[in-house]
Structures are given as C-alpha cells and as structure tokens.
C-alpha cells in the first residue's frame, strides 16, 4: 500500500524551507519528488541592476554558511574580466579565510549529523568548537558570518603578527579536538551502526547524476576543483584529495573529517609562508566586453559562476550554480529503497544548503490517494525507536 507523505516547507529538522513528497509503501520509500522555489529570491535578475562592487555583497548573501565561497568565486571571475592580478599577500589572506570557512562548515555539518542521528552531545561539542573558529574569523574580519573581506583586487584587511599567532594556536586546539572526534566515530559502534549502509550511491549512479563534493568523493570519485582547476596558490599548497569507498553516509562523514585535517595543513602552510607586501590593487570601474567561467571548491562541492560583461559598470549576466542543486538528482536516487526513518539522515548527509540552490517530503498513499503530514521530528523519533530494536552491527569496516 503506497502512501504519500509531505514534509513541507516549515519543518524543525532542516533550517530551510523545501518541500519533498515521497511515495512510500509500508516503511520503504518508492519515489521522491523535490519541490524547490520556496527560497527563490531572483538574484540573477537583481545582479544585472547593481554595479560590480555592489554585487560582491549580493553574492555573499546567497548563503550564510558558504558566503565567502560565493563571494570569492565571483571576485575571481571579475578580476579576470578586468585583467587585474591581486598581490600575493592578498591572495594568501583570501584563501586563509576560505579554509577557515571550510572548517566551520564541516564542524557545523558534523553537529547536524549527530543531531539527526540522535547523538545530541556530539552536536553540542562540535558547535562549541565551532565558536573557536568564529572568534578567529571575527578577529580577522569583524563579523562572525558574512565576513566582507573580498574586494575587487584583493582583500580589505590585513593581519599582524599577534593575530597570526592566535590563529596558529586556535588551529592547534582544534586539531586535538578533531582527533578526539575521529576516535569517537571509529570506536563508537552505535554511531557507526546508525550511519553505515544508509543512503547508498554507487559510483556509476554518482557519475550519471553529476554529483559533486563530498557526496561524489565518498563514492570513490576523486574530483576536487582545487586540484582540477588550481587557481591562485592551490598548486603550491600541500594537500591531498580525500576519498572513501563505502558510498554511504558513513563514507561522507569520513571524507569530511579527513578534509578537516587537510584544512589544518593548508592553514599552517599559509601562515608560515605569508609573503609581505600590499593586500589589494585598485580596480577599474568598467570591464571590457568578455565572458568568464569561474569555479571554486566550496565546502559542499563545486561552485560555478558564469559572468558576462558588456563594457558598462553593471554585469550583463551572472549565472550561479551552487553545489547543493547539483546533488538533488543524486539525493532522489539515494532515498529510493530506503526507510522513512532514515530520511533526515540521508537528506542531511548531502549537507543541504537550500538557499544556495534557490531555489516538503510528501508521502502519498498510492492506492487511496490520501495524504498524511509527518513532521521531521516525528520521523527522527521513529528512526531512534527503530534503531533501538535493531541489533548493533559490531563488525562494520571503518573506511580509513
């Protein structure tokens, strides 16, 4: 008997409005229908009416968690259009903030995953550590989120020796705590058992559906824009692309924790080799008519901006494709043949940033056509109860 359950725009688990309609038979999900548009703000049309500098603040507010990625991707493209090169020190500072943002985003995600799996103390611990990163970002830029540190031609602020030392100390503290989380994840059979085997996405399915970011890397595809398209200084920085082979939510968690360690490496490299000099060059007001494609590795995947200019102060066209939109077809595949109780975890595993994608789970009874509304917290409670009844898988392979 098939039901359709709507998880509509206002739900307590996710922080953003999206409507998913799922066709269910018993407890097994047979089909998913994702409805977007609750968060569509018409940015591409707005961007055509604002000047190049005003668009930096607009693109920053596409998303709150990955705000610096959108802003950097845009500024990279426009600098190529205007044919200016920011100085080395400015570049290093810009990507220092990028890596700090990646740390804050992954810690946020770990907390949310812990919360969806029922592990609330993990949520509190990771968000407490996130405050260390937020303090560092506030010290560098003045704001906890939406650090408007990019400008056309470089960055707006500089750091001095005392701040540099504080960042290094903060990173050392975070590194010790991340190793603690790694150990919990590996040796805690209840947590691992909750994540293993859930939301499978084989390598061929990930290729067909054009998955990006940690979702693709957990299925064994070694794709990272920092290696494929090394802009600025990423061809000198020492880091590896982290992949896992288990193709499920456990693999995605492992990939994100490994990426945290790579971030610490990159930040230490940046701070030890920070060149001296100015931090920005002057940018012209107009750009020659041209087009540019700018790609960047946001914490959730690949971010791509396509900018066209026509010789005036305003862009002709700005096209943004955020990583979460690219992961939606893959999510539909992942949710099929899963259980209702796993919906919050699978959906949280793609690290949804729906405001980026711009753009409600409904379960419909296929036989009688009646609709039933189920709250996400209800689903989470069902998930916890079902998990308690299941036996704990003690011999799960931790894909290190």
């Amino acid at each position: 008997m098939k039901f359709q359950i709507p998880i509509g725009p206002q739900h307590p688990a996710l922080k953003e409005p999206i409507s998913l309609r799922m066709t269910v038979e018993g407890e097994v999900i047979k089909g998913v229908d994702i409805r977007l548009g609750y968060n569509h703000r018409g940015m591409e049309k707005l961007a055509e009416e604002k000047s190049w500098i005003q668009n930096i603040y607009l693109t920053e507010r596409i998303c709150g968690i990955c705000s610096h990625s959108h802003s950097t991707c845009y500024v990279q493209g426009v600098e190529k259009l205007m044919e200016i090169e920011p100085p080395r020190r400015g570049l290093y500072l810009r990507y220092l903030v990028s890596e700090l943002e990646r740390i804050h985003s992954h810690l946020l995600w770990l907390g949310v995953a812990g919360h969806e799996a029922g592990f609330d103390s993990f949520f509190m611990y990771t968000w407490r550590d996130r405050e260390v990163v937020m303090d560092l970002l506030e010290m560098i830029s003045g704001n906890r989120v939406h650090y408007a540190i990019n400008t056309l031609g470089g960055v707006r602020r500089d750091i001095d020796e005392a701040q540099r030392q504080k960042i290094l100390d903060g990173v050392a503290v975070l590194r010790a705590r991340s190793e603690y989380y790694f150990k919990i994840g590996a040796n805690e059979p209840t947590f691992v058992g909750r994540l293993a085997g859930v939301g499978p996405l084989t390598k061929q399915e990930a290729i067909d559906n054009c998955a990006v970011g940690p979702v693709a890397r957990a299925s064994g595809i070694a794709r990272d824009v920092r290696k494929d398209d090394p802009h600025a200084f990423y061809d000198e920085a020492p880091f590896d692309v982290c992949t896992a082979d288990s193709c499920d939510v456990l693999g995605r968690t492992v990939v994100r924790i490994k990426e945290l360690f790579e971030c610490y490496r990159i930040i230490e490299f940046i701070l030890k080799n920070l060149p001296a000099g100015p931090v920005a060059v002057r940018a012209p007001r107009r750009a020659k008519p041209n087009e540019v494609v700018s790609r960047y590795e946001a914490p959730r995947g690949e971010n791509i901006h396509y900018i066209v200019s026509n010789g005036t102060e305003k862009p002709e066209r700005l096209k943004v494709r955020a990583p979460t939109l690219a992961n939606y077809p893959a999510t539909v595949v992942m949710l099929r043949q899963g259980f209702i109780a796993d919906i919050p975890l699978i959906f949280a595993a793609i690290d949804p940033c729906i405001c980026c994608a711009e753009r409600t789970v409904e379960l419909v009874n296929a036989r009688s056509g009646e609709e039933k509304t189920v709250r996400f917290s209800e689903l989470r409670r069902l998930a916890d109860e079902r998990f308690k009844r299941q036996t704990v898988k003690r011999n799960v392979e931790w894909p290190l």
């Binding site: 509509g8 725009p9 206002q10 739900h11 307590p12 922080k15 953003e16 409005p17 548009g37 609750y38 968060n39 569509h40 703000r41 018409g42 940015m43 049309k45 707005l46 009416e49 603040y57 607009l58 507010r61 596409i62 998303c63 709150g64 968690i65 705000s67 946020l108 509190m124 968000w127 407490r128 996130r130 405050e131 906890r144 989120v145 939406h146 940033c353 405001c355 709250r375 996400f376 917290s377």
Partner: protein
Amino acid sequence: MLKKLTRWSRIKSPWILHLNSGACNACDIEIVAALTPRFDVERFGVLLKATPRHADVIISTGPVTRQLRNRIIRIYEQTPDPKFVIAVGACAMSGCVYRGAYNILGGLDQVIPVDVYVPGCPARPDAILDGVVKLLGKL
C-alpha cells in the same frame, strides 16, 4: 491574583518556533548557535519546538518569498493565542539586499504583525537573546 500567576508563567518559559522564510541561513545558524553551550538560551526556559501548535513565540528570518506567503499566514493562524512574533535580521525587517526582486514581498510585517525587530546581518546570538528578553519585559 490569577492575572499575576498567568503573567509569571508566560514570562518564565516561552517556547519558540523557528520559521525560515526564504533566508540565506546566516540568521538561522545564529539562532541555533544561541542554543549551544556558549550562549545557552535554555537557561531562560526557552525551548525550540517543532510544531506551531506548541509554540508561544514565532521567530522568523528572511525576506518573504511569494511561494511562502500563504504558508506563513497558515502557520500564524495555527499558533494558539497569546502569540508573539520576532523578526530577526535585516531581511525580515525590510528585505535587506533583496529589495526590488520579483519574488520578494518585502519585510515580514507585510504579511503578519510583528512585535520585536532584531537588526543585524546576521544578528548576533547575543542580540537575539536581547530581543527575546525585551519581549518578555513587554508582557
């Protein structure tokens, strides 16, 4: 006497509902960060509730998109009296950078009546706590 009792019970533990109406998420993570050990809003008795039927205070972020307008009105009607609305962030106040877009109606007060406005882009967790406490002071 009964009035004093009801007033005391309303002040002591407001239960909130978090509503995101098309926001960029920054204000939302600051609201969730207000629950974490550093800012800890639960010492005021504030609990984050899942459904509008249990909530006393609706905390809303983000400019109102056209698709969400009817749903917000429905949620406001589902919340039982007495209810209060807090608009957090510059977007909920007047639309922030998105003013003039074709899918945005403006601030939250175009749709439902608002009691407290908390400015900021995004509003810091301390500011959100300040807003909640000021609301309790108004009661």
